[in-house]
């Protein structure tokens, strides 16, 4: 147990190290090197040379690699020329918005996946189960940005129930102090948009899980003892089917980020994904690099957290 945790911590640390290294080489693999990346593709050679000197890029690569680590550990992620602020100071507000949105969408996805999955597992290989399976395939294949655009067209424009995008509160969304009701109103459409594909994938997984549990002997035992179907579902099947949930959510993290980038862009929701998109369009490389790093780190830490949580939960009950 202790060994397992230490082992898991070790591999995560190694993954983090490799990630930082990969991103370093990604920047250096860009045409013209990092100076071009910062100044843009149309920079003059003089400006590039000046920046190279300023950033120590005239040093050999291994020294630059050291500098890269040094800056990272100091929390120095560079300066954003388009936002006119140090990148590190930008991240907080966007990260907070993203976490709220992703947490909402994941929560919606979990609740509906459990309900749909139990239903699907109970009706497996019969008409209702097959219908649910077909719907999952359809929703899963719907692009997030298509769902988002349709929701805006229908609920924001035609029905005018929700705002078509942005974030609640005053217009200076970064400054916080947003009005909570308006904030929630702005979160509903993007939350649903992001939750739909997540639900399709998660409920499919959970449905298979529930189906497999329903086939086990202990369900027959419970039936033979007069336990009502709903109680069998909740007290017996769900209890076992839900076990891998933490791990699966850990594995879903990259999908959440991908969906998040697209959702935030559709709804102009100022989160990490939106910032990634804007900095890519404006070729703001320091910000871009920082976000890519941050997403990678969050993914690794998320998976680590899921594994650790799971091993703690799993100690109590284990199959032999």
């Amino acid at each position: 147990m202790k060994r397992m945790i230490l082992n898991r911590l070790g591999t995560s640390a190694l993954s983090l190290f490799l990630l930082v290294t990969i991103v370093f080489f990604m920047i250096h693999a860009t045409p013209g090197g990092p100076a071009y990346s910062i100044l843009g593709l149309h920079a003059t050679p003089q400006a590039v040379a000046a920046l190279d000197r300023q950033m120590g890029l005239d040093h050999p690569v291994w020294q630059q690699y050291g500098i890269w680590w040094e800056h990272l550990l100091e929390g120095n992620l560079g300066y954003s020329f388009t936002q006119h602020a140090p990148v590190a100071s930008l991240m907080g507000a966007y990260l907070k918005n993203s976490i709220l949105l992703y947490a909402l969408a994941t929560a919606i996805a979990i609740v509906f996946s459990v309900i749909i999955g139990m239903w699907q597992g109970y009706w497996a290989e019969r008409t209702p189960g097959l219908v649910i399976g077909g719907l999952q395939m359809i929703v899963y294949s719907l692009p997030v940005f298509f769902i988002g655009t349709l929701l805006i067209l229908f609920f924001a424009i035609d029905l005018n129930w929700f705002p078509p995008g942005g974030i609640g509160g005053d217009e200076h969304w970064q400054s916080g102090g947003a009005h909570i009701g308006s904030y929630i109103q702005h979160m509903i459409l993007p939350g649903v948009t992001l939750a739909l594909p997540l639900t399709a994938g998660l409920s499919r997984y959970f449905g298979h899980q529930a189906r497999d549990e329903y086939r086990l002997d202990y369900v027959r035992t419970a039936r033979a003892r007069g336990v009502p179907p709903f109680r069998i579902a909740v007290n017996h099947v769900l209890r076992n089917a839900i076990r891998p949930l933490v791990t699966v959510i850990g594995m879903m993290i990259p999908a959440i980020f991908v969906g998040g980038v697209l959702t935030e862009s559709v709804f102009n929701y100022p989160g990490l994904g939106w910032l990634l998109w804007r900095s890519a369009l404006e070729q703001d490389y320091p910000t871009l690099t920082a976000i890519v790093l941050l997403i990678g780190i969050l993914t690794i830490l998320g998976n680590l957290g899921a594994d650790l949580l799971n091993s703690i939960l799993d100690v109590r009950v284990r199959y032999e």
Binding site: R126, G226, V227, R243
Partner: protein, 331 residues
Amino acid sequence: MRAVIPPKPGPAGLQVQDLGVSFGRGRKAFDVIDSLSFQVGAGETLGLVGESGSGKSMTAAALMGLLPWGGRISAGSVRLDGTELTQLSAPALRAVRGREIGMIFQNPLSSLNPSLTIAQQIAEPYRLYGGADAQAARTHALDLLREVGVPDAARRLDDYPHQFSGGMRQRVMIAMALVCHPRLLIADEPTTALDVITQAQILRLIRRLQKALGMAVIFITHDLSLVAEHADSVMVLYAGRAVEQGPAEAFFRAPRHPYSQALLHAIPRLAKPEERLSDIDGLPPRPQEFSKGCRFAPRCPAVTPECLNAYPQRQGGAHHFYCMHPVGGSA
């Protein structure tokens, strides 16, 4: 001990009359169980014998109203202490399953929920149908665990199934089946997964509890030697029909149906149980292939053309069988 359930009028025990079970609808429908009649009085044991696929477990499922999807009771009646079970609504039938019928299964580990403690599992129907509160249910579970001979029961209440050995798990299963003091206990191959010594202990335990509670017991097995030892009466199933049934003593003295005969000859003396049917060639037919004649005919050593034309008439009294060419000549 019986305070939970008031006694009902009518003959005690289980009466099954002309039970039939079908799957499918319309022209695709087929019977898996056909014209099954038997009774088990309170305190008596019926041994239900047959190969796998003969309909033993399907019979048990039909009695409990737990047929797999697509299956239904197409004919006959099932009466437990005078109550007609086939007419009951789903909730009423659940209550009967919870209180009046207990069941033990072949594989105790997979039959127990891995993520509930023993105490939680034993007490569940007692709380649902016995109206007990949590504390009473726990005390009851503890009593039962002691009753079935789980050592150090108080400390094992909150253990999970995987923490028990095979024999102990089967004892837990028995405790679970007995939690509401049922009138009928169905034991579906309860000892197949156990070693010989544990097997004997478990069977002795079942018999002791049967005496104490006055339960009717249906003992489902493919092992005739266990039936000879433990059952008051015997019913041999083949391809969804009874081929021979009667008091155990009479049956074992002179089995009349060729299939029973073959089964008896196949009882392993020192051999492994896998070899018990090796002297009957072929396989039982599948339900879709049942013919109108005797279903054992294709494998029967005494087969004649008329065996294939119509199902044989019942012969004999208390000990009766369905065969045109019984062992030892016609009655």
